[in-house]
Amino acid sequence: MKKTSVLAFGLVAATALTSPAKADKLDDIISSGTLRCAVVLDFPPMGARDESNNPIGFDVDYCNDLAKALGVTAEIVETPFPERIPALMSGRVDVGVASTSDTLERAKTVGMTIPYFAFQMAVTANDKSGVKSFEDMKGKVVGATAGTFEAIALEKTVKEWGVGEFRPYQTQADVFLALSQGQIDATVSTSTVAQSNVKGGKFAGISVVGNAPYDIDYVALFTNREEYGLINYLNLFINQQVRTGRYNELYEKWVGGEVPSLSINGVYR
């Protein structure tokens, strides 16, 4: 699999008796010359496809920046939302640049970096549904992308309300398709996705009607839990992206407006 495995085997054999030297993932990436990023491509403006069906978006650029910093070439591996983690675990990708919320539940399985982006949650509704705010969703049919931060929060809200119905769709695209068809009355999604879908003009009869009272959804890059070397590197990279102004630049390019802060008042990470 790895071109260097023969060489590595020789090295290991030579050093086995003296020291337990082991190349970690960071070394592997640098020596292989390729950085493979898991990116979700139906999540505009973070990940999408252009007219010739090539990957574009904030996450795609972010992966390219990371590859440049490492001095390797980037390879974008499209993964549907539910496939992000299996793709990493199986070694098909090195890093997830996939707008992944840094929940404690997930951190039991993968290693999360510091936040590299932050989402505000917005409510988008079908104009015919009469939903004008978050509270109006009570008793309605609502949906979100399965497994996302907002889906988990929304499902919990619907359960607390005790009325209405929650539907998880497997892709963000299906959620907006269902919304524009009127299959669901409203959805909670990241405000960036909501704006991009409404402004894109592809969906008729839907509009963003307000914010959802959920915590800010901090998203992190992720890699294998035990790869501390790589996680350290990624943390520094995120820090440098902000420091050098590249974060602002990318935000302006893909989203626009006020740049969300990535730090939380009153606590260290």
């Binding site: 699999m1 496939e83 199986s90 070694g91 695209a173 398709l177």
Partner: protein, 216 residues
């Protein structure tokens, strides 16, 4: 409906998806059939009792949804750090799935060959291998081929599920285009038509063979 933003390049994208569907199907059916023949003969030779573990194992592939099999296969290869591409994982899972059904077909085909015919062959001095090669194989193939064609088509249609692992096959390619162009009905109809165009003639051929070969 004919006022569409679908371009020629997008049709090419769909064709690439269809090619992926066919590639996954071809690999899986080929590998699955080879395995199926081996298992089928084995089950026939071992008898009901001794082939019980094999029967049980293959039965699992026919009693668990393919979607679950694919997800599990993918999770397993990730746990074992095999680093397989989704294409490999899909083909391995689909091959085993095909093999499970193919074994039944092969077994049915072999048991359709009258025991007396086989005894006659052996008493003419044919070895087991000669009996298998010149007597059983031609007769069993005749019985099994229509069912095997049905299986191939089944695998072709079931291969749509590999989209779950991120492979861009025909259905996934259509979904990507739906996302970008927002013409769900039109694009999905094209997708369905492509499946139909691939499947229908082969299904008809199977029906024809079944009719022709059962009448003599």
């Amino acid at each position: 409906m004919f006022d569409t933003a679908l371009t020629l390049a997008d049709l090419g994208f769909l064709a690439k998806g269809a090619a992926m569907t066919l590639a996954v199907t071809a690999v899986s059916v080929l590998a699955g059939t080879i395995l199926g023949v081996v298992f089928g003969v084995l089950r026939n030779q071992l008898g009901t009792y001794w082939s019980l573990p094999l029967t049980f194992l293959l039965d699992i592939f026919r009693s668990v949804p393919l979607l679950i099999q694919l997800v599990l296969g993918n999770a397993l290869q990730s746990i074992l750090k095999l680093g397989w591409a989704p294409f490999t994982t899909s083909c391995v899972v689909l091959s085993l799935y095909t093999a499970a059904y193919c074994t039944e077909i092969v077994r049915g085909g072999i048991s359709a060959v009258p025991t007396t015919t086989r005894r006659a062959a052996r008493s003419l001095g044919m070895t087991w291998w000669q009996d298998m090669r010149y007597i059983v194989a031609p007769l069993a193939t005749r019985v099994s081929l229509p069912a095997w064609i049905g299986l191939t088509l089944g695998v072709m249609k079931d291969s749509a599920l590999v989209l779950w692992l991120g492979l861009i096959e025909l259905l996934r390619a259509s979904q990507i285009l739906v996302t970008r162009l927002q013409e769900p009905l039109f694009i999905l109809l094209i997708c369905g038509a492509i499946y139909f165009i691939i499947s229908f003639p082969i299904a008809r051929l199977g029906g024809y063979l079944e009719k022709r070969w059962s009448n003599d």
